[in-house]
Symmetry: C2
Subunit: 198 residues, 2 copies
């Protein structure tokens, strides 16, 4: 598409790399942006620049926030004796939207995968053991119900067993093969309430 020009072409290509947008919808989005330059395009450029500069990874739990420790780790109303381990920040957001958990989180940053070469060393696992040793009563393993998620949960069960901490997992309300971020609040809530001892 030589007639588009390099500035627009570059924008289309970058937008097409976002999940949920293909080449065609990226072109539509680009046109929408060019039509709403002051109302949408410039604010989005500023929001991206601001967020890129301001957002950091929490040194305790791995959440994304403007401060480290993050707002969740600093909140004294949240139960520090309850730890919910998730694969990704998207899962943390999904559980927060469901509003069923009032403890602290631990974000692994992925799931174990031999295929993709994701080993325990590449996940936020080492600090989990030290957090558990600091006086946690229960660790909820809230991995996705995928092969990788369940492999990760089994690995963490074995790794944390020596500490004697109570380990639970989400109830089988989570559909097999599904991912937390795509579940409705009701299913997440039910799964949280029916969590079982391991």
């Amino acid at each position: 598409m030589s007639t588009i020009g390099p500035e627009i072409e570059r924008l289309v290509q970058l937008l097409a790399r976002l999940p949920g947008l293909g080449p065609r919808s990226a072109r539509r989005a680009t046109l929408e942006l060019l039509k709403k330059r002051e109302a949408l395009m410039e604010p989005l450029a500023a929001a991206l620049r601001d967020a890129a500069a301001a957002i950091k990874t929490c040194g305790i739990c791995g959440n994304l926030d403007t401060s480290s420790p993050c707002a969740l780790c600093r909140d004294p109303r949240r139960d520090a004796h309850l730890l919910c381990v998730v694969e990704d920040v998207a899962d943390l957001w999904a559980l927060e939207r469901a509003g069923v958990f009032r403890g602290r989180y631990h974000v692994l940053g992925g799931a174990l995968s031999a295929l993709d070469g994701v080993t325990p060393e590449r996940l936020n696992v080492a600090s989990l053991a030290s957090r558990v040793a600091e006086g946690v009563d229960e660790v909820i393993l809230a991995m996705n119900a995928t092969v990788e998620g369940q492999t990760t949960a089994h690995y963490l069960m074995d790794a944390l067993a020596p500490t004697g901490v109570k380990l639970t997992r989400l109830a089988h309300g989570v559909p097999v093969g599904g991912e937390l971020d795509y579940l409705d609040e009701g299913t997440l809530s039910a799964a949280f309430k029916a969590r079982r001892s391991l």
Copy 2:
């Protein structure tokens, strides 16, 4: 979602306003951006800022480009006696991808709609008549096959009839109710070649 923080929340809300992205996919896109800060987020911020500053509307045809007149209007290899009238820049891009037209364009910036209050005065119509008067042999009315598009085509037929210019419309290869930007190259090509005199 109070736990997300205002910087991230603002980014999610702006992305959710893009066509093709809803609240959920905007959250996924935001996380992807935060994970690929240097490779994706900062380049996208820069591309948006650069395009917002550089891209203008062509004073002749209404196309979007870094210069006015645009590259298409300045191209001496394109036949200035053939004028293809489209509703939107997206339609111009779609026809250029099909590569069947080597004349000039005229972008209306929309279609007539009593419901949305789009009158001829709000479209790029006045300059069309003066372009036609400057020696155009044929005007191809390449509107969408929607009620608004066909209303616009009929309006332009009536408006341009006194000039005596040859008026054509795309052949009925365009599916009724469909929009140009969603068609495959083959259909667009067939419709272009079978265009009929009005």
